[in-house]
Symmetry: C2
């Protein structure tokens, strides 16, 4: 069942009912000021940090779902309704929500009154604009009331929901005409306040939640809206809100627009006050003046659209599969940027109160956005590398504001170091900018201990090489990519972190997955050395890679597939000898995409085993059979009920690894089948099963062992976005950034047909046309660049050349 | 305006409308299993620790207020209502909530169907019982549906409201007939589950919140209740709930009772499972069998009532002031026990997610419950003293489960050590048990470093003595009793803790309040030494006390009142020389009750100044004039808006100090006036202003500078309970436990009349009759014990004697 449709022309997803299976959201904001915005106007707003500087309150796991947002109420002759349906849930005569790139627009009508709410965060200011356009579609004059409503958060979202003995006494506001200022704690150490203002003179206002709602009332039944009369309340403690009231009369056919701005203002210490306890409102008023007319708002919205259109013009495919096109050209790239902005902090599943940016998360996210924002990717790489330790290991997380490593979780996740090579090589391949390798980067953010970024990579490489176990495979440490495979943990106490309990270095437990990574990114490291003409280091690296390759073939192969690991007693994990968890997805994907066992025929065997044992119609499960009980020696993975999360869920992040692996061995049909299974656009028709947004990836889909097989969870903030984009853009469509230029190496399913790609690469534009007359699945036989035939599938990059016309022929 | 009345006979407060200004709650549970229970059935349940082992979910600061509880829904021919009004808020034909001691009973009716819900935690089991009695008061047969509803918390209340990417996948239940088992995480490291069961065969059940409520529905409109048909849902992830459905038919006049039990069960590791993934239910079924009949429930409830009646029989006053009698005999003592059980963890203002037991909080709470549960007071003292450091300082908080000091907050609150003397002396005065002083008690919970409790007291005493500032007054450190007076903090960053920022030891800033404490409890320490015949130490202690007394008179007197402190620059705080914060309440109360300046006439002057500058009709404010802005050198106190909390709020905890001080100088009228102003029973008639429960004290009442002057906040968990009980029982009514026996030293207002007190003391019962024919305010002139006239106001304790008949004559 569908709950909307894609409008590819407008780059929008159009939701046609407010009653989606779960709230379907969008992200507003590009830089420092962000809002989560659901299809019923739910969500919240923050500045830079979703925990520390939250402007509006949101109750996660609330009843009803997703009540809390920026609401507008209309009282039209006693019928009280919201354009976004929630919270009154008054049935609407029409409803449409368009989630676009950085903006959302909800249009609905009731009793021939139409309301259109357009919400976005402009590029240049720290505010969210809500433009409300009201139109009388009836033949009679209509007189009605419009009320706005936001509930302020007292800034620190964790403190706000726990420290009531203080918080209920500190709320403070100021009201100046239609401007409502939320200034809690501004009297003391904060130098910032929030503003919620309307661009026209209001007929009343409220700032006390109790006054607005009435005692024991929910937001579905506010006393003030009922009575059509604001209390003009000034909050003192308890819960400050912002609400405006407008009495409006519209003649038949007449429209009226109102602009509401919710903004964040910082003042310098010396400019905090206008007079005793009266805040300095000048910067707020200056901001409001930039959005006081419909014309200004239209310009700001158009600027925002231009910004996104320009960003997304860097990779554009045209082919006969609409679903693939819209994912590649719009939604997958959009989601990659959102993961850049949000990391794993604020979604409808991530409560915005955890603080860490993951080392490996950030490295992998970068694979998805490096072509869009290479400069910011460069910054991000330096930030990440700066948290590495001198021995090459890394903090597993770092704090986004201080950019320092998170001591609470520390290090010991032994895949982390290699992801640094992954993201640096992706950056260089994209940009050709080898200079980044010469950047001076501290260890552990200590400026007295620095080295070149290249040296950081060497330490990443050597960390793995010097932490091998009995089978010469890499030690797993606390965990590898699978944070829930905790082979050195042995936790018996509820509440203990599976990730930090137990020693960070176990001397026995080994990961075949990290071995695969080492082969993949060890080769990358060798290539980087080659590019720098350091052939000695290149040879050293390749020799180590070859040894690892051998170790995997000798001790990492189980007969029909790759083993997952050896536990702390050197017992096999992910072997046919195991009772449960016989086969895991990760090593099959990563070993093959690294090229291990391809020549020996093991790669094909491993991928066939994946299909036989792990495949479902909704994607490939992480392991089988699911663990039916808790295993002390395995850790968190066995703590989940079968079919969920790492315990045999379809963990979408690793599905593209297998798809890529299939393309490595040339099976385009299978690679594409895997791509489709978890790709949201292809799941739109089964939204009642999939439940999350059909325009973005989710972290997990319940596996075959689960009660609700096919149900997705944790949409938006997942490394799945980056890896699926890498898969579809580089391996399926086959446009691969390489050190010397773009490589064309597609791997498509039968019947895919011809396709074209417009690719911006190193400030040049490539118009690439790929012909596939003979229905070939893999590779090209002929490459013509600007009428000149090439001798390989590489389009050599030529400095200064701005346009490339490319034709590639699949044999 | 009143919202109910006291039923003194039943020891109940009877609430006559669900629409109280704020939820008015009760506490169920005496030992390990507790529920908060509001007058609309809101609240939550936990086992031992409100953060780590929470059975049911509760959303603080929710909209509507206080939705979340153990609800019963009745669908009577389409009219859907709840006996507690919430959450449907269907108007009731009658409503009554009786909060008793450890139980609550809500009786209401709609359309001639009566429902009576009795909720309590039995003495012997870890469960809450809800007995629902339904009566058809109409003349027709009634057929209707009853649904139960609880929402389970996934145990750790903080994780439950933040870690959704895990939690939405782990919920698990089992259903066995009418027994619903919540077993999330039992598969792995938990050895406990929750049970929610009915004593009769249900017609249906639900365990999935979404199935029960329906998508986007609130608890005011559950789909299943609407349809009168359970979905028999088995939760898998998302939000597990427990709901039963009963189809009931009642003839005119007929009644039916149902018993619901919500319980907590722990199994031993080896007894966890009945079979693979099927939990061992034996202990749950055994518990249910103890509450399967109305007779069993009645016995259990009567046992609970007996328990409380016996506890409260230890201090019973009879006088002509009903309000005073009900506070002394019932509610104040009840609240003292609740503070013993809860410390500051779980109330409607304390979210149950903070972990610390305060060192000073616990010492002071003990003053209020030591006469009720002396054995548990003894244990508590040892727990507290075990967190002391070798130098006499103390962790400011300790963890209730581990009983270890809380490193996050550390030490440096320089009043803490002296409170240990306060509580130990109170214990010895009450029990005569000097043996506690010989107990071996560790420092910092390190069994390799121990000393006698007496030595701990000496270190408390000497810590103060060796930490004096330039005026020979005690250094304040991080703060003294007033946690918000942070003279060594200088915090500029929002979010920094005022309590832990800055040095713990400032070498300059001094507290006159701690000086008062030192004089008071230094004398106590000297008396203890005297009792142990250590006259040398007694003399040393008294000399030090005398020096401190002198230092206060020399450097702590401001002309009309006692100074509050010297800041880190040795500038005065709480002086007429200050622009704001000229006079503080704490030193006036504590210096005078310690006897400082009484002879010199300064005590009277100080208390007159309190009346002149700090008094309001709702109590005495903490300081005046309120701080209008943030002072770096003063800290958190100036962070609050004027009139709230420590910034000139009426901080109820310290009002009894002034009342006691007034009694020290013999002004009974004024002492009693102060007592009355913050005493909830006297505020019942202005509940629309006071807002919190009229049967328990609140921490704070908004001061004269506040917008809502007279509005109280943070009821239940406050040291006010203990201090007001000390005041009224020992200083106003004048029954003072002393080392050698009971001292009779009343200080009452004119017109108070004769009164009698029954007091259990050291296993003897004292029947005390106090005659006041001449309307004397202070002291007695004649004391007759068992027909024998005494030569002082002491009733000497005689070992073995079990009954004392006492007559005291006020001149």
């Amino acid at each position: 069942m569908k709950f909307g449709f894609f409008d590819d022309n407008e780059k929008e997803y159009v939701i046609t009912t407010p009653k989606t299976p779960l709230p379907w959201i969008n992200y507003l904001g590009c830089d420092n000021f962000f809002s989560l915005y659901s299809n019923t106007c739910g969500g919240y707003t923050f500045y830079k940090d979703a925990k520390l500087l939250r402007l509006t309150r949101y109750r996660y796991n609330n009843i009803p779902t997703d009540t809390g947002g920026k609401y507008f109420y209309i009282n039209d002759n006693g019928t009280i309704w919201n354009p976004g349906w929630q919270p009154t849930k008054t049935e609407l005569d029409s409803y449409e929500c368009r989630h676009g790139l950085g903006y959302s627009r909800i249009t609905s009508s009731k009793n021939k009154l139409k309301a259109c709410v357009t919400a976005f965060v402009p590029l240049e200011d720290n505010c969210e604009i809500n433009q409300v356009l009201l139109t009388n579609d009836s033949t009679d004059t209509k007189t009605f009331s419009l009320f706005s409503y936001v509930e302020f958060c007292l800034w620190n979202a964790v403190d706000d929901m726990t420290n009531f003995q203080r918080n209920l006494s500190i709320g403070e506001v100021e009201v100046d005409g239609s401007e409502i200022y939320h200034k809690t704690e501004y009297r003391e150490r904060r130098n910032h306040y929030a503003i919620f203002a309307a661009n026209q003179k209001a007929d009343g206002f409220d700032t006390s939640r109790d006054a607005f709602l009435g005692a024991y009332n929910a937001t579905d039944d506010p006393a003030v809206v009922n009575s059509k009369c604001s209390a003009n309340s000034i909050a003192s403690g308890w819960s400050p809100i912002g609400s405006h009231h407008f009495n409006i009369t519209l003649k038949p056919g007449e429209s009226k627009s109102l602009i509401f701005v919710l903004g964040y203002i910082e003042n310098k210490e010396e400019d905090k006050w206008e007079s005793l306890n009266i805040i300095n409102k000048k910067p707020a008023k200056a901001m409001l003046s930039r959005y006081s007319s419909d014309e200004q708002v239209t310009v700001a919205l158009n600027n925002l659209k231009d910004h996104w259109n320009q960003l997304l013009s860097k990779y554009v495919v045209s082919c006969k599969d609409d679903k693939l096109c819209r994912m590649v050209n719009i939604w997958n790239q959009y989601q990659c940027i959102v993961t850049f902005n949000m990391s794993r902090s604020a979604s409808y599943y991530e409560s915005g109160t955890g603080r860490g940016m993951g080392f490996r998360d950030s490295c992998q996210d970068l694979l998805g956005f490096v072509h869009l924002i290479p400069d910011r990717a460069r910054e991000r790489i330096i930030d990440i590398a700066s948290t590495q330790f001198e021995d090459g290991s890394a903090y597993h997380q770092y704090q986004p504001l201080t950019k320092k490593g998170n001591l609470d979780i520390g290090s010991g996740f032994n895949d982390d170091p290699l992801w640094l090579i992954a993201c640096v090589s992706a950056y260089i391949r994209e940009t050709g900018d080898l200079s980044i390798l010469g950047e001076t980067v501290p260890f552990d953010n200590d400026e007295s201990k620095t080295a070149s970024l290249l040296e950081h990579l060497r330490r990443s490489f050597d960390y793995t090489l010097t932490h091998l176990g009995p089978h010469k495979l890499p030690l797993i440490g606390r965990a590898d990519w699978n944070d829930c495979l905790n082979l050195n943990c042995f936790s018996k106490e509820p509440g203990e972190s599976f990730q930090t309990t137990g020693p960070s270095e176990g001397p026995i437990a080994e990961s075949v997955f990290i071995a695969g990574m080492f082969v993949k990114y060890g080769k990358e490291y060798a290539t980087i050395c080659h590019e720098l003409n350091d052939f000695e280091e290149e040879v050293r690296a390749l020799a180590a890679v070859e040894s690892m390759n051998k170790a995997v073939l000798e001790s990492g192969w189980d007969g029909q597939w790759f083993l997952r690991a050896y536990d702390a007693n050197s017992n096999k994990v992910g072997s046919h000898e195991c009772t449960e968890g016989k086969i895991f997805i990760e090593p099959q994907g990563f070993c093959v995409l690294a090229g291990i066992g391809v020549e020996e025929g093991l790669a094909k065997k491993a991928l066939d085993s994946v299909k036989e044992h792990l495949d479902t119609k909704y994607g490939i499960m992480l392991l089988q059979p699911a663990y039916s009980k808790y295993y002390l020696n395995l850790g968190e993975i066995s703590s989940y009920p079968p079919g969920y999360k790492e315990n045999a869920g379809i963990f979408c992040h690793n599905n593209p690894w297998v798809s890529i692996a299939e393309s490595v061995i040339g099976r385009g049909d299978r690679a594409f089948e895997i791509y489709q299974k978890t790709c949201p656009a292809y799941l739109e028709d089964i939204s009642e099963i999939h439940r999350t947004e059909p325009y973005v990836y989710s972290q997990m889909i319940a596996g075959a062992d689960a009660v609700f097989h096919g149900e997705a969870k944790n949409s938006w903030l997942t490394g799945t976005a980056a890896w699926t984009f890498v898969n579809v853009s580089q391996y399926i469509l086959g446009i691969q950034p390489d050190y010397k230029g773009l490589v064309i190496n597609p791997c498509v399913p039968s019947g895919f047909g011809d396709f074209t790609i417009t690719r911006e690469f190193r400030n040049a534009i490539y118009y690439i046309s790929i012909k596939n007359e003979h229905n070939t699945q893999k590779g090209i036989s002929k490459l013509i660049v600007d009428d000149k035939e090439m001798f390989s599938n590489l389009i050599p990059f030529e400095k200064g050349k701005t346009t490339y016309y490319v034709t590639a022929i699949m044999e």
